[in-house]
């Protein structure tokens, strides 16, 4: 196995593109090293992207935020402006692992690991986040929900690396929230995860919403029907009932030791209702 630590995205992409064997990108390493040590993967090349300046920064721009691929969970939690604009995204990212893991783990890694139960991914999908992908020939930007295509598989092509994640600028009276169900209090994998992002008008009517579910299908889901149940309402009981129903209906979960199919379907609705109420409160709704 070779270890390379390039200083530009172009070099990183070229290294991956020309590698004939198995090549992996290393950012935080909290998933990659586990897979490496347990023999699940046998890389010929590991490309560490942490020397590339663009991957290490959180930039606040006119268009919103640009979060580098190697920015850690701990750094996200310490960024007051990001926390204020996107509290749901930050709380979701901060739920990943322990303090030790937070010091290394990244949202881009969480996205590219392509687990259906990834905590930060539903929050990013609800936020309308985009992934900036650098390839050997071109750069492209796609909605984050198009990155994972199946458990453990992404739409990234050979030589492509996610450089950063873009979060849009927040309109006034907006809020987001992420909730997950786990049987423990911390350090566990989501049985169901729900993220809701809303924008209200001056009268408290929901004008825009995005709802996303984790751990209830092979990939994280964007659920437009659930958003539709909120838009145009004051997010009253009837609207929340509609939201919960749409979320449960969107679930195609597996049965496993962490939760039965029936349980996940029911909990998706329950959590959606609670997350929507938190998002509404954060948006300033009374």
């Amino acid at each position: 196995m070779r270890y390379e630590r390039p200083s530009t995205m172009k070099q990183a992409s070229a290294l991956l593109a020309k590698e004939k064997g198995k090549a992996f990108v290393l950012a935080g390493g909290t998933d990659l090293l586990v897979r490496l040590r347990t023999g699940f993967i046998e890389p010929d090349l590991i490309v560490d992207i942490k020397r590339i300046v663009a991957t290490r920064e959180i930039q606040s721009t006119a268009a919103g935020f640009r979060i580098g691929a190697a920015v850690t969970g701990a750094e996200l939690g310490e960024h007051a402006k990001l926390q204020k604009a996107w509290p749901g995204v930050v709380e979701a990212a901060n739920l990943i692992g322990s303090k030790q893991v937070q010091g290394r783990c990244t949202m881009t890694g969480n996205l590219c690991n392509a687990s259906p139960a990834a905590d930060s991914v539903p929050a990013l999908v609800a936020a309308g986040a985009k992934a900036v992908i650098v390839g050997p020939k071109a750069k492209r930007t796609i909605p984050v929900e198009q990155v994972p295509v199946a458990p453990g598989r992404t739409s990234l092509r050979k030589g492509e690396i996610v450089e950063s994640i873009l979060l849009p600028k927040r309109p006034a009276r907006s809020g987001d929230a992420y909730l997950r169900f786990i049987p423990r209090t911390e350090m566990d994998i989501a049985v169901v995860g729900v993220a809701v992002s809303v924008t209200l008008d001056a009268k408290g009517v929901c004008t825009d919403a995005r709802v996303s579910l984790g751990a209830v299908a092979p990939t994280v889901l964007l659920v437009p029907e659930a958003a539709k149940a909120l838009i145009g309402t004051k997010m009253d009981k009837a609207a929340l009932d509609g939201l919960a129903k749409a979320c449960s209906a969107a679930c195609q979960p597996i049965d496993d030791k962490r939760g039965t199919r029936e349980f996940r379907i029911k909990v998706a609705g329950v959590l959606a209702r609670r997350a929507a109420q938190i998002a509404r409160r954060r948006a300033g709704g009374k």
């Binding site: 270890y3 630590r5 490496l36 040590r37 303090k99």
Partner: protein, 162 residues
């Protein structure tokens, strides 16, 4: 496989080593540098027995490649006491008998030190959450939590008295 040359700072001292590409920082510390305070528990980042700080951030050294530490500053349990003088956390762990077999203790001390540096007056809940990445199979955690809270209290009092 040719070795990777790494220059790093461990507990304030410049240290150079050569490691393999797939070797973890934990293996480097223990097998190449003789710093055996960090323990190997799960080797998957769940138990925290291998906790160190990397550029001031608490991390599991089993989840870091030795090669990644080039140019970084590492803090291990070996750097916690100042010569014969124990760190207040180490003293309080002894007073409260906050350990039994001791395997998890170095990692818990490193994590607790990082916690108190970040949050000098934590609540009990904050201590429990802050140490959730460190597993102990002996103590039931209660004495550990009390030792950390007592240390915070003492450090706070002595800081005010100074």
């Amino acid at each position: 496989m040719s070795g990777i040359h790494v220059t790093t700072k461990i507990n304030g001292d410049v240290v150079e080593y050569v490691c393999d590409a797939d070797e973890t920082l934990l293996d480097v510390l223990r097998n190449r540098l003789g710093l055996t305070g960090a323990k190997e528990g799960c080797s998957t980042g769940d138990c925290g027995a291998c906790s160190v700080t990397l550029d001031g951030r608490l991390t599991c050294s089993c989840l870091v490649l030795g090669a990644e530490a080039d140019g970084a500053e590492i803090g291990t349990i070996e750097g916690m006491a100042k010569g014969e003088e124990l760190h207040p956390l180490q003293r309080k762990f002894l007073q409260h008998a906050a350990l039994q077999c001791g395997i998890c203790t170095p990692g818990i001390l490193v994590a607790a030190k990082a916690l108190l540096e970040h949050n000098p007056k934590p609540t009990e809940t904050e201590v429990r959450f802050g140490l959730a990445g460190n597993l102990c199979r002996c103590t039931g955690y209660d004495k550990i939590v009390r030792a950390v809270l007592d240390t915070a209290e003492e450090m706070h009092r002595s800081a005010r008295g100074a």
